[in-house]
C-alpha cells in the first residue's frame, strides 16, 4: 500500500528537491471563459518538451459560467490515466476558489490571480497570487479581449514556476492559431510578461518542475472523436447522418471538417460523400439505414439518449441485414444524466438493442489509434456481415486530449462484402435470393439499388421474409431465417477484433477491461506488480466473444471485470456467454462521471483479494 500512497500523494516539504516530470496541474475556471486555449497551450508545450502528458476536461453541461476543471497530468513513465492527486492548482474561478484551495495536495502549489481576494488559510502549500489584470493591461491587450487573454497570464506564471520552455509555448500558440501572427503575438506577449513578472518576484523554488525528455517523439496529440472521424474518412464513409449531442457532436463536426478536405474528387470538384445534420436521431439512423441499403458506407454518431431513439431502426437494420455503423460516444446515464461526464453505461443496451431477438456487434476502442482503426474497420465488418456495427467510445476517449502514435493507414483493402452487380447476376447459374445462405456462413448476397439487371430488384422490409425477400408468415420460413441469423452471428465471432491479451507467468489474477479505462489499468497493474501481485490482462476489443476470451478465463483463478457503470454490464454479458465459468468472474464497477484512477483499481483488487 505504501507504493500507492507515495505515488498518489507526494508529500513534499518545499525545502527538498523538486519533483520532476511527475505531477498534475488542475486549472479551475468558469465554463466559457476561454481557458481552453491556455490549457491546450500548456499541454502542447509540455508535449513539445518531450514529456508525456494528458489532459482531461471536467466541464459542466452549460455554456458559460459554471465551474470547469482542466487536469493536466505530467508523467515521465507515460501514465496518462486520471489521478486524484492535485499537486498544482490554478484557481481562476471565484465560485470554486475555496474548494480548489482545499484540494491542493500538502506540499503543493496554489496559483491564483490577485483580484480574487479570498482568505487563504493553508500554510502547508506554496501560495502565489499574480497580478492578472495588471499583466494584461501592461501587455496592451485591447479591452474587449482582456478577460479572455487573462488566461494566458497563468500560463506564463506557471511556465516560470515549473520550467516550461517558452519556445515550446510559442510553438504551441503558433499551431493553435494556424500561424496567424497577430493572435500568436498578443497571447505570447502576455505569457512572456507574466513569466518575467514571476521571475522577478524572488520566489522560493517551486516543488515541481519539468525537464525536457524525448518521450513524445513519434507521437501526436489528438482526441478520440477526431481519430474516429479520420478513420471513417479513410474507411470511405459516404453518408454521415448525425444529430448534435454531447459528447458525440465533435465526431460529426470533425467529419464535416475533414471530408471536404480529403474526399472531393480532384478532377470534378465534386463530393464523394454527404454529411447531413438530421432533425433528430430517429431520422439520423433512418437515413443511415437508407444509405446502407443503397450501397453506401453510412454512419451515424450519437450518445445514450440518441441510441435510445434509434432502437426501432436498429432492429430494422439488424433484421433487414443492412450495414450501418453507429458510434455511441457514451456519457453518464440513465436518462439525460450527466451530459458532460464519462461512462461505460450503454453496453447492455446496445448489445440487446432492438425488440424481439437481437444480438449486436460492438467494437470497443481503447485508444486513439483504435478509434481510427475501428473508424474504418467498422465499415468492413458491417458490409461483410450485413449488420449494424456499434462502436462504443466514451466522453473521456472522445473529447479529451491524448498522446498517440500517428494514425496508421489501413493495412487491408476495403472489404465490401457479398454484393452482386449486373455482371455478377448475369453470370449466376442459380436463381439469386437476397436471403439465401449460399455459402453456409449465414451471410447472403445482396444487390444494390441502381443495379439495372432486371432480376436485381428486391423489396426490403422489417416483416417476415423468405429467401427471395418475399413476405411470408409461414412458421418454418421464420424459423429458418432466424436460424440463419444466429449462424451469421457465429460467423461474426471469427471476424471482430480479438482481445489484446497480456498473459503474465504466474499470475493468478486476470483483469478484464475495455475502452477508456485501459491507461488506468496499465498503471494499476504496474503498481500491483510492484507490490507483489502480478496480473494478467485481457483488454476486450469487441463483442461477441470468440475463443480467446474463454481460454483467458480458464487459465486464471479469478477474473476481475473492471468497468465504468453501476450494474457491471460487461460482467453480465460475460456471465451469459460463459455461464460455466461465471463463478470466476468478479465485477468491479465505479461510475461517478470521472475517469477511473489506477488507485481505485489497485485498492479494489487488493480489497477483494484480502477478503
Amino acid at each position: 500500500m505504501i507504493t500507492i500512497e507515495t505515488t498518489e500523494k507526494q508529500e513534499k516539504s518545499s525545502a527538498s528537491a523538486p519533483i520532476v516530470n511527475d505531477f498534475s496541474i488542475v486549472v479551475g475556471t468558469k465554463n466559457g471563459s476561454g481557458s481552453q486555449t491556455s490549457n491546450l497551450t500548456i499541454i502542447r508545450a509540455l508535449f513539445k518538451m518531450g514529456i508525456p502528458v494528458s489532459g482531461k476536461n471536467v466541464f459542466p453541461s452549460n455554456i458559460q459560467g459554471l465551474p470547469t476543471w482542466y487536469t493536466i497530468r505530467v508523467n515521465h513513465e507515460g501514465y496518462t490515466a486520471r489521478r486524484e492527486a492535485k499537486e498544482i492548482v490554478i484557481a481562476m474561478n471565484p465560485d470554486s476558489f475555496g474548494a480548489d484551495l482545499a484540494e491542493v495536495d500538502p506540499g503543493g502549489l496554489f496559483i491564483y490571480p490577485d483580484h480574487l481576494r479570498y482568505h487563504i488559510d493553508r500554510d502547508d502549500i506554496q501560495i502565489l497570487a499574480f497580478p492578472a489584470k495588471d499583466l494584461v493591461r501592461d501587455a496592451e491587450v485591447p479591452s474587449g479581449l482582456r478577460d479572455y487573454v487573462m488566461n494566458m497570464a497563468y500560463v506564463g506564471v506557471l511556465a516560470e514556476r515549473i520550467g516550461l520552455d517558452l519556445d515550446a509555448v510559442h510553438a504551441a500558440l503558433d499551431f493553435h492559431f494556424g500561424g496567424k501572427q497577430k493572435p500568436v503575438d498578443l497571447n505570447y506577449k502576455v505569457i512572456r510578461m507574466s513569466a518575467e513578472w514571476a521571475a522577478e518576484q524572488d520566489l522560493e523554488p517551486a516543488p515541481f518542475r519539468v525537464e525536457p525528455l524525448d518521450l513524445t517523439e513519434g507521437y501526436i496529440l489528438s482526441d478520440g472523436n477526431t481519430a474516429a472521424a479520420l478513420g471513417a474518412v479513410y474507411g470511405g464513409v459516404q453518408l454521415v447522418t448525425w444529430y448534435p449531442i454531447t459528447p458525440a457532436s465533435s465526431l460529426g463536426e470533425a467529419l464535416d471538417a475533414y471530408l471536404p478536405k480529403l474526399r472531393v474528387d480532384p478532377e470534378t470538384g465534386k463530393n464523394t460523400f454527404a454529411v447531413i445534420q438530421a432533425e433528430d436521431e430517429l431520422a439520423a439512423i433512418g437515413m443511415a439505414v437508407g444509405g446502407g441499403w443503397a450501397g453506401l458506407r453510412a454512419m451515424t454518431s450519437t450518445s445514450g439518449p440518441g441510441i435510445s431513439l434509434m432502437t426501432e431502426y436498429a432492429g430494422l437494420a439488424y433484421y433487414s441485414e443492412t450495414p450501418i455503423v453507429v458510434w455511441d460516444v457514451q456519457r453518464m446515464g440513465p436518462s439525460t444524466g450527466l451530459p458532460t461526464r464519462t461512462s461505460q453505461g450503454d453496453i447492455s443496451q446496445v448489445f440487446f438493442l432492438g425488440h424481439g431477438d437481437t444480438q449486436n456487434i460492438l467494437l470497443l476502442p481503447g485508444s486513439l489509434q483504435e478509434c481510427f482503426e475501428f473508424g474504418w474497420r467498422a465499415f468492413d465488418l458491417a458490409e461483410t456481415l450485413q449488420m449494424p456495427v456499434y462502436v462504443l467510445s466514451d466522453l473521456d476517449l472522445g473529447m479529451n486530449t491524448w498522446m498517440t502514435r500517428p494514425f496508421e493507414y489501413p493495412d487491408e483493402a476495403m472489404r465490401r462484402g457479398k454484393v452482386l452487380w449486373e455482371e455478377d447476376l448475369e453470370k449466376l447459374t442459380e436463381r439469386w435470393g437476397r436471403y439465401k445462405d449460399v455459402d453456409g456462413d449465414g451471410i447472403p448476397y445482396r444487390t444494390i439499388p441502381g443495379n439495372k439487371h432486371p432480376a436485381a430488384a428486391w423489396f426490403g422490409r422489417g416483416t417476415g421474409h423468405d429467401e427471395y425477400a418475399r413476405y411470408t408468415e409461414a412458421p418454418d420460413d421464420w424459423d429458418r431465417n432466424m436460424n440463419r441469423l444466429l449462424r451469421k452471428y457465429e460467423t461474426a465471432r471469427g471476424l471482430t477484433p480479438e482481445p489484446e491479451i497480456d498473459r503474465v507467468e504466474g499470475a493468478g489474477i486476470g483483469i478484464v477491461a475495455f475502452g477508456s479505462t485501459g491507461p488506468a489499468v496499465d498503471e494499476a497493474r504496474d503498481r500491483l506488480e510492484k507490490s507483489g501481485t502480478p496480473t494478467s490482462y485481457m483488454r476486450l476489443r469487441s463483442l461477441p466473444f470468440n475463443t480467446m476470451e474463454r481460454e483467458f478465463i480458464l487459465s486464471h483463478e479469478r477474473i476481475y471485470v473492471i468497468e465504468m457503470n453501476h450494474t457491471g454490464q460487461m460482467h453480465q454479458i460475460m456471465t451469459v456467454e460463459f455461464p460455466d465459468l461465471a463463478w470466476k468472474l468478479v465485477s468491479l464497477t465505479h461510475n461517478n462521471g470521472l475517469p477511473l484512477t489506477a488507485r481505485w483499481i489497485v485498492e479494489s483488487i487488493e480489497g477483494k483479494e484480502g477478503e
Partner: protein, 349 residues
C-alpha cells in the same frame, strides 16, 4: 413502332420497350375496393405512359395498408417498406446511393400525419427529389379502424366513438413547410390521379400528393369525409389537368384564349391546366393557402395542383455529388492516399 434504340417494339410496348406487365407488382393483399389499389394501378399506368425504366425508380413506404402497396406495383424497382412514420429518413439516405434514380414513396395518413409528422416536415424542408404520395383515408386501416390525425372532427367510427379533434390538412402542412409541389386528388378520379402522379414523378424536388383514398372496410360511410360517397359528391377540381412530357408537342384542340394555363417543369415538361370555375394560379403561395382555407370552411374536397414552384435545388443537388453514383465508387475514390494521412498526422500537434 420502334423503341428509342431502333429495335422493334413488343406489341403494347412503350418507348422504353416495355409492356404494362413490366410495371406490375405482386398481387395486392388489400381489401377489394380499397382506394389504395386504384392508386397502385395509376402508378403502374403513369410509369408505363412516362416510358420510365422501372430499375430507375426507388419505392419507399412506411407501415400501414397504404404502405404495403409498393409491393403491388413496379416489381422491377428496388424498394423498402420501412418503419411506421419514419419512411422519409430512410428514403433520404437511400437517395444518396444513386442520385439518378427517382424515389416514389407511398404513405398513409396515420403514417404521415400522426406518427410521421416530424419526418414529413423535414423531408419537405430538405426538398428531397421524390414523389411523396399519401393515401389518405382518415383512418388506421391496418390496425382496424382507429381515428387518424386527418379524420374530421365529429367523425363516428364503429368501435371508437366520435373524433373530438380537428383534422390535420396534409396540403396545408406541406405548404407551411415550403413544399415545392403540393397537390390533392381523389382515388375515385383515376385520370387526375394519374396525371398528378406523372407530374409529381417528373418534378425535381419534393412533390406532396395527398390522395383521398377510401378505406372501404373501416371508413366509408357516405357522410365521412374520406369515403367514396363523399368524394363523388364533393370533389371539386380547381382545374382540369393534363401532363405533357417534354418530348411531346402540346396540342390543344379547341384552344380558346385564356382557357388554359401552362406550368412548366424543370425539364420542359408541361402541366396543362384547363380553367374551371375560375382561373387558379398554382404558383401563387397565398392563393394556395387561400383555396385550402376556403375549402376547409366550405367543407368541399378541392383537388388539383395546388402549388408548384421550380428552381429550388433538390437535396442531392445541394450536396454537389459526383456524377458517378456514390454507390458505384470504389476504394480508389473512397480511400484517400497514404500520403494524405501522413500529412494529416503531421498536422496534428
Amino acid at each position: 413502332m420502334t423503341a428509342e434504340n431502333g429495335t422493334e417494339r413488343k406489341p403494347g410496348a412503350n418507348a422504353a420497350g416495355l409492356t404494362k406487365n413490366d410495371y406490375r407488382g405482386a398481387p395486392s393483399t388489400l381489401c377489394a375496393g380499397c382506394g389504395h389499389n386504384s392508386i397502385s394501378n395509376q402508378i403502374i399506368q403513369a410509369a408505363y405512359e412516362l416510358d420510365i425504366v422501372p430499375e430507375d425508380v426507388l419505392k419507399f413506404s412506411g407501415i400501414g395498408c397504404s404502405s404495403k402497396s409498393p409491393a403491388y406495383f413496379l416489381n422491377r424497382s428496388f424498394g423498402f417498406n420501412s418503419l411506421h412514420g419514419r419512411m422519409p429518413s430512410l428514403a433520404t439516405g437511400a437517395a444518396f446511393g444513386d442520385k439518378h434514380l427517382k424515389p416514389v414513396a407511398v404513405s398513409g395518413d396515420g403514417d404521415t400525419a400522426s406518427i410521421g409528422m416530424g419526418q414529413f416536415k423535414h423531408v419537405i424542408r430538405r426538398n428531397l427529389d421524390m414523389l411523396y404520395i399519401i393515401e389518405n383515408n382518415g383512418v388506421y386501416g391496418l390496425t382496424k379502424g382507429q381515428f387518424s390525425a386527418t379524420a374530421e372532427e365529429g367523425l363516428q367510427l364503429k368501435y371508437h366513438g366520435e373524433n373530438p379533434y380537428e383534422a390535420i390538412d396534409i396540403c396545408v402542412e406541406a405548404l407551411a413547410a415550403n413544399a415545392t409541389f403540393v397537390a390533392r386528388s381523389f382515388a375515385g378520379d383515376a385520370k387526375q390521379v394519374r396525371e398528378l402522379i406523372k407530374a409529381g414523378m417528373t418534378h425535381k424536388g419534393l412533390a406532396v400528393l395527398d390522395i383521398i383514398s377510401p378505406c372501404v372496410t373501416f371508413n366509408n360511410a357516405d357522410d365521412a369525409h374520406h369515403s367514396y360517397g363523399y368524394g363523388k359528391e364533393n370533389e371539386t377540381p380547381i382545374h382540369d389537368l393534363t401532363f405533357i412530357p417534354f418530348r411531346e408537342e402540346i396540342r390543344i384542340d379547341d384552344h380558346e384564349e385564356g382557357e388554359y394555363r401552362e406550368v412548366e417543369l424543370h425539364d420542359g415538361s408541361v402541366i396543362l391546366l384547363k380553367k374551371l370555375e375560375r382561373d387558379y394560379d398554382p404558383t401563387d403561395r397565398m392563393a394556395a393557402l387561400q383555396v385550402l382555407e376556403q375549402a376547409a370552411v366550405d367543407k368541399v374536397m378541392i383537388t388539383g395542383l395546388i402549388y408548384f414552384e421550380t428552381g429550388r435545388k433538390s437535396l442531392t443537388e445541394i450536396y454537389n455529388l459526383t456524377d458517378t453514383p456514390l454507390n458505384r465508387l470504389t476504394e480508389k475514390e473512397l480511400r484517400p492516399s497514404r500520403e494524405s494521412l501522413a500529412e494529416v498526422n503531421t498536422m496534428m500537434f
